[in-house]
Symmetry: C2
Subunit: 131 residues, 2 copies
């Protein structure tokens, strides 16, 4: 395994392109009992990242008006090369369709979507290439 | 896109198998200015996850003796199916080889490796399948 790798900063415009091309990201937040990371589907609209969950989950309760991290990457574990983009900002949650279904609906059926919007304060990216 | 998906809990033994099969994970911690997530290479030894960084980076300084989250996943963004495993625990850092190279060595060359060990207190996994 080559140890000759170089880390390059990814410019913010390309970070947004990479975010927009990703469908799966990981959302991180600081729960009362410590950090949590969960995979989420994201959408990029302008300079905002949104994601939808379908429940009053721990995520929904804990991230509202709180600092979060959102990460996308494409890394090759063997060569340890690839890229990652990190969005740090504040999340807010919007409950939609609260009158559209029963409160007993299981969360995976999407009947009660919650939209989490992340207002970025910092967007950074790093690409590691073989030198 | 099917909305008929089911979430299944992954038993802890299989979580460890999935962790052991992964080379790339994401480490999350709560930095002084909010959550951070970065991709890392991991190794699983027994019931401990270790990773190596090669510098006195922000990660190294901030995670020592602190709660962290470590996530691995394989998720299909289109079908929103796949699995993820989350390790929550406390990290500790060990500086090795401090006398093996110049302190001016660039961090990517691996001359001054730092080992971060995560002692898990909670290992959980979830698999989302089409119903």
């Amino acid at each position: 395994m080559s140890e000759n790798r170089t880390a390059l900063q990814i410019e913010v415009e390309e970070c947004w392109d990479l975010l927009a091309s990703a469908t799966v990201a990981r959302l991180g937040w600081n729960a009362p009992d410590g950090p949590v990371i969960l995979p989420v589907n994201i959408a990029v609209e302008g300079r905002t990242v949104t994601l939808r969950t379908s429940s009053a989950s721990a995520m929904t309760r804990q991230v509202d008006d709180s600092p979060v991290a959102l990460e996308v990457d494409d890394v090759d574990g063997e060569t340890r090369t690839g890229w990652s983009v990190l969005v740090r900002g504040v999340a807010s949650t919007t409950f939609e369709g609260v009158d559209a279904g029963s409160s007993a609906e299981p969360w995976l059926d999407g009947a009660k979507p919650v939209t989490i919007t992340i207002r970025p304060r910092e967007v950074t990216g790093r690409r590691v290439v073989e030198a």
